[in-house]
Symmetry: C2
Amino acid sequence: MNLILLHPNELIWKGDSDSRIESAEAVLKGRRFLHIQSVHKAEIGDLLRVGVINGSTGTGAVKHIDSNSITLNVMLHQHEPPPPLPVTLILALPRPKMLRRILQSATSMGVKKIILLNSYKVEKSFWQSPYLEPTSIDEQLILGLEQAVDTVMPEVIQRKRFKPFVEDELPELAKEKRCIVAHPDQQARFCSTSHSETLLAIGPEGGFIPYEVEKLNNVGFETVTLGQRILKVETAVPVLLSKLF
Amino acid sequence: MNLILLHPNELIWKGDSDSRIESAEAVLKGRRFLHIQSVHKAEIGDLLRVGVINGSTGTGAVKHIDSNSITLNVMLHQHEPPPPLPVTLILALPRPKMLRRILQSATSMGVKKIILLNSYKVEKSFWQSPYLEPTSIDEQLILGLEQAVDTVMPEVIQRKRFKPFVEDELPELAKEKRCIVAHPDQQARFCSTSHSETLLAIGPEGGFIPYEVEKLNNVGFETVTLGQRILKVETAVPVLLSKLF
């Protein structure tokens, strides 16, 4: 937790009628309280880096600690969050436990839009996972933001049918973007870096089936490869993002 | 498991006195048996991709299946494993659960030498972890090789004292290599790709302390940064390897 992320609702603003600087108070319990206590080992008066979801970053001064909460005096600056990656990640739904780590690492790298898509080799049961519920997804996104000192929440979209998504939605999304599908293929070329807006499609363990690659190629997706080695999706995501931008 | 990895001792060679092609038999139980049964759903006569640790890859024909083992008829070709990355990874010992994933992903990417090093911010208890025992480390390396269709086992070395390692061993290791320490620093430059033999040092969560960075700089390590975002070590490893090679 390199940044303590606050929800806007958690801030209680105080006026600046006298010489006090305008500031807000926030009372933290649960995970953040425990982390600040056990990892930061914060004491009264210590300064911590804070941020507001989809807002500014700033400083939190520890004002009060009791057995199950910590009170911060928060002052926000107008710091810009770190720049996002110009990418939409289209991910064949991974195994739920792996999904959690991927959401976290992709968020920490600056991905701001993730589309979870069905694909032939995605196990049907994955779509029933409680990890796909919004609160569970948000949890991972927040961990990723806290890691990377970012405040801007990514958007995560779920599409349970491959064909309607690729035929009806993808052509519009793909307009004027660099479109790439990662797929081991003898003919495929290697990745190259660019700052263009990019759609990056990554298949499930075992890959997209040829029909799916063809459907993506038809919408303008170019097939790229990472070479001879087949990587787990959770490794392929940071590798591809690093090689593409 | 894109490759079923066999220990040389597991192969029972059969002569080629008649028209039969020289081949070996291997009987698999436990994890590999379960995987072949439940994921590959192999039946008698099916062909599976196999490899011998530190040896060739080849084909295994399913000869016999019973309730707790599978017998393969193995024929080896002289295929070269995929090329390794020309890197030695010097890793401040990560949290044990994360270490497992890093060993696996680094191996799948082609790292062949990993030095686990102490550092000021490494929790002492990490060095007591059962995950540091050779059998436990080998387990992760094998999973990484199986993932990447590789057969060459990486070497993993443990160094529990930072200063003696950096002062006494590192200068020799560093000779004629590109030496890089990843560290967030305003002055540090970004990574660039190269095919040179490289030593890559990555700190613990929270980073190397300035004294440690200075010690590494003194042995010729150049500080590079990944930019504003602070990444988890398990994300930083694939990102750095992707950006450096």
